[in-house]
Subunit: 490 residues, 2 copies
C-alpha cells in the first residue's frame, strides 16, 4: 500500500501538513489564516477540553463568557499590552452592509461607521478587567476565578494549521486576588495543571519554567510556560500562566478595600492553552504511517475489524464482537466496530493507523475456531494473537501500558536531545542538531537577542527546577548562576 504521507525524514514540515489533512483533523478555509476543524480533529479537541475543564473546576474556577469585541481605546490603557496585542488584529469599523447601487451584491454602508472601532479579541484581559471593576469593592468579593472557552483572532502573517492560525480556539483564565502571594500561587497552580495535563493526558513531557523578559506576555510581571519538544528537535510553547501584578488593576482602576479597611489595587493572573496543543500532540508522537494518539485523548480507543469472506462468518463474528464491545464499554473503553463491507480490511487497517487509533482488533473465522483475536498496537505497530477469553481486561491494561509507553518514548527522546554546552561555538554547532541546549547566559535581553539573531534559537525558559550553578555566559563571559534552556521553536 502506497504511503499517503511524506516521510518525516524527507520533510518534517510537509509530513505534518499531510498528516493534518489526511487524518481529517483540519484544513485551511476560504478565509486567510482561519482553519476548519474537522469532526475527527474536533473530537480530540473536545476530549482535551473535557479534561482541562474538569481540572479547572477542581481547582475552584468557574466558566463565564465575555464579549468577542473590545473597544479600541481599551488597548491603550496598559502600556506594554498595547505593544504586544493591539497591532495585528481584526478591526471592525462598520455595522451594516447595503445592496450595491451598481447591482453587484453587497457593499459596506458608509453611513454605518462605528464611532469607535472594535477589535476582535486577541486576548481578553482588557475587557475582563474593565468588567471586574464593577464586581470588586471589598476583599469579600475576592478571589474571582473565571475561565472562558472562546475563539480569539491574531492576524498572523505566516500560518500553519493548529500551530499558528489567525483565529484559534482556546481557554483563558482570568483571576483577581487580594494579595500578591495568592496571585503568584494561582499562577503556579495553573502552570502545574497544564503540566499535569500535558504529561498525564497528552503523554508529552514538558519543562516548566519562567520566560525571560523578552518572551514574557505583554503586561505580565512573570510568565510561566510549559515547553514541549517535537520530534524534529524544535520546541513548542504549549501553555502559559501569567502573574500580572497590579498592572491591569491600575490600568482599569480596580481597587478593593482590604480586611484592614485599606484601599489597594487588585492582583491578577491570566493563563491559557489553545488548539495549538493539537499541534503538540500530533508532532510529539506520530510517525510516517500517521497519527499516534495517547489512549486518554483518542476519540476511538479500540477499533474492531471483522475479517470474513461469507456473510454467515460475519454473523458469527458480530455475535462475539457484540459481547466484547459491551464488556469494553462497561469498562469505559470507547470502541468502534467497523463492519462497512464496502471497504477491505487492508484499507481499514491503514485508515485507523492514519487516524492513530491505539488498539486494533481483527477477528476472523479462524479466530472464532481457536477462541483468539489479533491485537495490534498503533504505537509500536506490533501484533499478537491473544485468547478471546479475558481480552477485555487485557485491553484495559494494554491501553494503560500504551499511554505510559508513549510518554516514556517522548521522555527518552527529550533526555537524549538535551545537552549542556559551555561555549558559543559549541552552541552554534549543537543548535543545528535540534533539541534543548542548557547553557549559561548573562541575563541581559541584548545577549538573548544576539543569540536569536545569530542562531534562530531562543531561551525557551529558565526551568523552575534548574539548580544553581556558577558559570560564565557562553557569549559574553559575564557571570551566571544558573543555566537556561535554549532551542529553536515553533
Amino acid at each position: 500500500m502506497a504511503k499517503v504521507l511524506t516521510p518525516r525524514s524527507e520533510s518534517y514540515s510537509q509530513w505534518y501538513n499531510d498528516l493534518v489533512l489526511k487524518a481529517d483533523l483540519a484544513e485551511n478555509s476560504a478565509v486567510r489564516g482561519c482553519m476548519v476543524i474537522k469532526p475527527y480533529g474536533y473530537a480530540i479537541w473536545e476530549k482535551m477540553q473535557r479534561v482541562l475543564d474538569q481540572m479547572f473546576k477542581d481547582t475552584g474556577h468557574e466558566n463565564t463568557y465575555f464579549p468577542i469585541f473590545i473597544p479600541k481605546s481599551f488597548f491603550s490603557k496598559e502600556a506594554d499590552h498595547v505593544e504586544g496585542f493591539a497591532k495585528e488584529c481584526a478591526v471592525v469599523t462598520h455595522y451594516r452592509l447595503m445592496n450595491d447601487p451598481d447591482g453587484n451584491g453587497v457593499v459596506v454602508d458608509p453611513e454605518a461607521k462605528l464611532e469607535e472601532e472594535l477589535i476582535v479579541r486577541p486576548t481578553s484581559e482588557t475587557i475582563i478587567w474593565n468588567t471586574y471593576k464593577n464586581w470588586i469593592q471589598s476583599y469579600r468579593d475576592l478571589p474571582i476565578k473565571c475561565n472562558q472557552w472562546a475563539n480569539v483572532v491574531r492576524w498572523e502573517m505566516r500560518t500553519r494549521l493548529f500551530l499558528r492560525t489567525a483565529e484559534f480556539l482556546w481557554q483563558e483564565g482570568h483571576t483577581a486576588h487580594a494579595t500578591k502571594q495568592e496571585a503568584i500561587e494561582e499562577t503556579e497552580t495553573m502552570i502545574n495543571v497544564y503540566g499535569d495535563f500535558a504529561e498525564k493526558f497528552m503523554a508529552v513531557p514538558v519543562v516548566k519554567g519562567f520566560k525571560t523578559a523578552n518572551e514574557r506576555f505583554a503586561g505580565a510581571l512573570e510568565t510561566y510556560t510549559i515547553e514541549a519538544l517535537m520530534q524534529d528537535g524544535k520546541a513548542l510553547q504549549s501553555g502559559t500562566s501569567h502573574f500580572l501584578g497590579q498592572n491591569f488593576a491600575k490600568a482599569f482602576d480596580v481597587k478593593f478595600t482590604n480586611n484592614q479597611g485599606k484601599e489597594d489595587f487588585v492582583w491578577a493572573t491570566s493563563w491559557g492553552v489553545s488548539t495549538r496543543l493539537m499541534g503538540a500532540l500530533i508532532m510529539a508522537h506520530s510517525d510516517d504511517n500517521g497519527l499516534v494518539l495517547p489512549p486518554k485523548l483518542a476519540p476511538i480507543q479500540v477499533v474492531i475489524v471483522p475479517i470474513h469472506r461469507k456473510d454467515e462468518e460475519l454473523v458469527r463474528i458480530k455475535e462475539v464482537v457484540g459481547a466484547l464491545t459491551e464488556k469494553l464499554r462497561a469498562k469505559g473503553v470507547e470502541v468502534k466496530f467497523d463492519d462497512n463491507d464496502k471497504k477491505k480490511p487492508g484499507w481499514k487497517f491503514a485508515e485507523y493507523e492514519l487516524k492513530g487509533v491505539p488498539v486494533r482488533l481483527a477477528l476472523g473465522p479462524r479466530d472464532l475456531e481457536n477462541g483468539t483475536v489479533e491485537v495490534a498496537r498503533r504505537d509500536t505497530l506490533t501484533k499478537e494473537v491473544v485468547p478471546l477469553e479475558g481480552v477485555d481486561e487485557y485491553i484495559v491494561d494494554l491501553l494503560d501500558k500504551i499511554q505510559k509507553s508513549i510518554f516514556q518514548k517522548a521522555y527518552d527522546f527529550r533526555t537524549e536531545s538535551t545537552v549542556s554546552v559551555e561555549t558559543y561555538d559549541e552552541f552554534k554547532e549543537q543548535i543545528e542538531k535540534g533539541g534543548y541546549i542548557m547553557a549559561h547566559w548573562d541575563g541581559t535581553s541584548e545577549t538573548e537577542q544576539r543569540i536569536k539573531d545569530e542562531t534562530k534559537a531562543t531561551i525557551r525558559c529558565i526551568p523552575l527546577d534548574q539548580p544553581e550553578e556558577q558559570g560564565a555566559c557562553m557569549v559574553t563571559g559575564k557571570p551566571s548562576n544558573k543555566r537556561v534552556m535554549f532551542a529553536r521553536a515553533y
Copy 2:
C-alpha cells in the same frame, strides 16, 4: 426582607431585567449589545449544552469548527439569504492598528485595509457550504451531519440580555443529504430533539409547527419552530430547524454523483438554538422572589443551610450533613452546603430563592434532637419537616416531582392562555390579554402583514398537529382549512 425584584405585576420587563442582574446570570458589557454571561448564568447554559450535545451525538451528529469570518461576497451567492442576513452585521475592514502619530493611543493603520471585507458570522451556511463543496463528490460522502458550538453576531438595534443581543452563543447544525426525503426527515428529527429538550429538561411546553413564508429563515424552503409561551402571554421562538432544499448547494455549486451515477445538487438542513433559551427558561417559570429552575438544569439542586448559635452545634450539624451529602452525591444530586458564617440563614434563604435552587434543607439543633430536617421547595415555596432517615431518597423523588410540577404548571398556564377566535374583532380584543390565539387565516402574506401592522401579533406557527378544519379567514373571509397560531412575541 425587602424584595429585590420589581414585581411582575408592576413591570414584567423590569422584573426580567432585575432578575437577570440580581441572580448573577448576565450583565451588559462595555460593548453595545454584547453581554457578559456571569458564572451562575454560564453554569446553567453549560448544563443545557451538555444535554443538547449528547442528544445531537445520539442522533448521529459530529462537532466541528468553522471560521468566525465570512468573505463578504459569500453572502451575495444565495439571493434570499443576503436579504435576511447580510445587512446588520459586524464588518472587519482592517487588520492592523498602529500608534497614533499624535501620541493618543492607537489608530487603524490605513495601509492595512483588507481587499475584501470580512463579515463576523451571523450564521454559517455560506462558509460551510463553500467548504462542503470540497468534501462531497459522491453519495458515499453523504450524509454529512455537522454541528458547531459558536458565537455569532447580528447587529441588533434594541437588545435585551439573553433575548436579543448583538453577540450570542449558539449551536448551529448543518447537514448534507443525497435525497430530499432524507433532508426533510433530518429537519424533523432536529425539531423533535429541540422539543424534547424544551419539555423534558427546561420543563417548558412548546408548540411545534411550520413558520409562514414571512417568518421563514432566509434561504429555507421550510422552517420548523418550537414556540414557548412566557408568563406575560408573549410567545418566544425557542429553536428552529430549516429544510434548505438545494438552495445552498446551488449557490455554492455542491454536486454529487448518486448511486445511479447521475449528478445532482445536495440537499441541506440547518438548525439552531441559542442563549435565547436562557431567556425562555427564566421567563417561563420564575416568580417575584427570583429564579425558579427545573432540577435537571439547576447548577445547584439542593442547598443545605445550617441553623446554629454555637460552634459545637455547627460541628454536630456538619457530621450529619457530611453523611447526607455523600449519599446524595452518590445518587447524582448536586448539593451545596453553605456554612459561610458571615451570612445569616435568612439572607441565605433569600439568596438561594433568588437563584432558583430547587430544594433547600435547613438543619438546626432541634432537628438533630428530633432526627428531622426542614425541606423547602423553591417552586411552591412550601416547607415541611421530614425524618432525616431516608431523606436522600425523599429528595431524589422530590426533585423528580418538582421537575414534573414545573412543567405541569407551565402547561396548564398555556392551556388556559390558548383560545380560538372566529372574528377579527374578537381577535383584537383577545390579543390584548396575551396568550395564543388559534384562528383561520387565508394563507397570504398580505393578510399576515396587515394583522401584524394592526395588532402587533404574528403567526407563530402552523402547528404540526393542527387538525384540518374548514373555516373562513377572520380578516378577509377567504376559505381556510386549518387554524394557525397567533401571538405577540419576543
